[in-house]
């Protein structure tokens, strides 16, 4: 576990891992081929979300995720413990952000595990000395009424003595910073650090120390080290593909197990490169607006779709995006982003010029 990041990073220093230069060219070329509807990714798996449902036995179980979570909790303690204990501090408001692909309840579980007060409904409570706002969802409503509530919240916390730790996604923070005085009130903004290929290799080894992982495209052992670097590009590309979010990376590994039974020669587990789905071709523009709105709101109820989007949503689009693996639908029809798709969604939106904040 020696390659896991050892501290949260400041928002200004956040730099997602990148693939090797030659692979960036290759990826751009493959994306272009895909946009031109020329079949690409020869040699790679053509896994699509429907196929993923058939993968019953993930190779990475709860232990890996627990160890990862425990490591991240330690980083949070290390960064904020002293600040939380300080009686007098000029920094009353701090923020800790995660990428959209991290678990929604990550900070709530950390706060609960450490016994901190939680403002689950986003309503400030001046009686507490310190509290954690575990999600920015209650503050993020992109409509004038939502802005009014947000400003009232900002005024209220300014007049109270409670120290607050704002936690949530980086895109939501980018929105809040733009539309409210929170960017001025919060003095220190940290981000869960990106995990590079070596860190992912450490995580893979937690439950699978004796197992060999091979890349289906290169045939090489993806954990093999040459010099001080990973010899194969698989994990480097994966880290770049999920922008260093370890939860998304682990889920993508589970999803990328390719024909495990057939190709399982010499006890190796074969991993394919995940084939990110495209947007519905005739509705790409409205799909992007929809995904952007969901990223900002966190969760979007069906009745809010109309006001959150500038153009009418064609009937069936939400289900189509859910079928492609972008969105998950709650029983009441509310939509959320499928966490491990968030990095891909960011890439799609960023290419189209959508504003996504600093991280």
């Amino acid at each position: 576990m020696q390659h896991l990041p050892d501290a949260l990073v400041s928002i200004r220093d956040f730099a997602p891992p990148r693939t090797r230069a030659t692979n960036r060219v290759r990826d751009a070329y493959l994306r272009l081929r895909k946009k031109l509807h020329i079949e690409g990714n020869q040699g790679d798996s053509a896994l699509v979300p429907e196929d993923l449902e058939r993968i019953r036995d993930p190779i990475l179980g709860p232990e890996t995720f627990e160890r990862l979570e425990s490591h991240v909790f330690d980083l949070l303690d290390k960064t904020f413990a002293a600040w939380i204990d300080e009686e007098e501090t000029p920094h009353r408001f701090c923020a800790c952000l995660h990428q959209e692909s991290a678990p929604d309840d990550l900070f709530a579980r950390w706060a609960a595990a450490r016994g901190h007060d939680i403002l689950a409904d986003g309503k400030p409570d001046g009686r507490r000395r310190f509290a954690v706002l575990p999600s920015l969802d209650p503050l993020c409503a992109r409509d004038p009424e939502g802005l009014k509530r947000l400003r009232q919240f900002c005024d209220k916390i300014e007049g109270q003595k409670t120290k607050l730790l704002f936690c949530g996604s980086a895109v939501q923070w980018g929105f809040l910073r733009r539309v409210s005085p929170l960017g001025l009130q919060v003095t220190d903004v940290r981000v869960i650090p990106p995990f590079d290929g070596r860190a992912l290799a450490d995580l893979l080894g937690i439950e699978n120390a004796s197992r060999q992982f091979r890349s289906r495209s290169s045939g090489a052992d993806i954990l093999k080290i040459k010099g001080n670097e990973l010899e194969d590009d698989y994990l480097i590309d994966l880290a770049a593909g999920v922008r260093g979010c370890p939860w998304a990376a682990l889920q993508m590994v589970n999803r990328s197990v390719s024909s495990q039974q057939d190709a399982d020669d010499a006890g190796a587990t074969w991993l394919a490169r995940y084939d990110w789905p495209g947007l519905p071709p005739q509705h790409a523009r409205v799909s992007r607006f929809l995904l952007h709105a969901v990223l900002i709101h966190g969760e979007l109820a069906p009745q809010d779709l109309g006001s959150a989007l500038p153009i009418p949503v064609p009937p069936g689009l939400v289900r189509a995006l859910a079928g492609l693996g972008y969105l998950q639908l709650a029983e009441d029809g509310a939509v959320r982003i499928v966490p491990c798709m968030a990095a891909h969604i960011r890439r799609v939106l960023s290419e189209a010029g959508f504003p996504l904040g600093e991280v």
Binding site: K35, D143, E351, G357
Partner: protein, 271 residues
Amino acid sequence: MEGRAEQIKTLLNDFGTWSVLQAAGIGLLFFLIYKAVQFVLPRLAELLPAKLRIMVLNAVPLSRLVLMIAALTLIVPLLFNITVENFVLVLSALGVALGFALKDFATSAFAGLVAVFEKPYRSGDWVRIGPDYGEVIELGSRALKLRTADDDVITIPHSRIWSENIINANNGENTLMCVAEFLIDPARPATGITGLLTDVALTSPYLDWDRPVAVVMNNETQGTRVRLRAYPFEIRDQFAFISDLTERGRDAMIAAGVRIVSLPDFSGGKG
């Protein structure tokens, strides 16, 4: 007369059909390459990330210039015997030809050359030339083509840059300022309107977060004109953005009790 005939003899190379064919072949080849570039690059630009689109579009006129120079460099030595005297002779002959027969074309072509370097407009820019406003979709050697919001294509000779102001709304960037205008009753207090309209802009899905939002008011004869200024993140959403700001801005003001001034129709119903 003999001296002039001698000059012309030395001007032209001793070329036969083969040289002419070679020159024609080179000309054709470069023309085809340019046509391919002109076909491929705009389509490629549509597939690339938004920030690369305008850069790739701008490669079209530049590639035309480069290809033209390369073609001339190859063709001229095949047909002409290049010396200083011949060069002057060719220039003067060209000058006469251009002066009389192709004056307007030459003016536009030269203006087009200047436009490549001076950049009053580039491919992908939104410009106003005279009464016409639209996106520059093609920069030819003689003229540029604008596509208006109504999807009309207007061809405008480059020579207009000599005589007219060119208003470039985005100047090579991927955004431009959009303005939604409202005319409100000047007899009522305007307090709170700035905040109201700023919120309308801040909650627009088209908004570029990194650019400022401003509300500007001034009094006019008919009422107080309120302008809400903001930038969309995608230049081609400008009209949708203005519609969004206008629609929600108007509704928000009406809901807040602000009276929007409507002027009587003086057109007699003909407009």
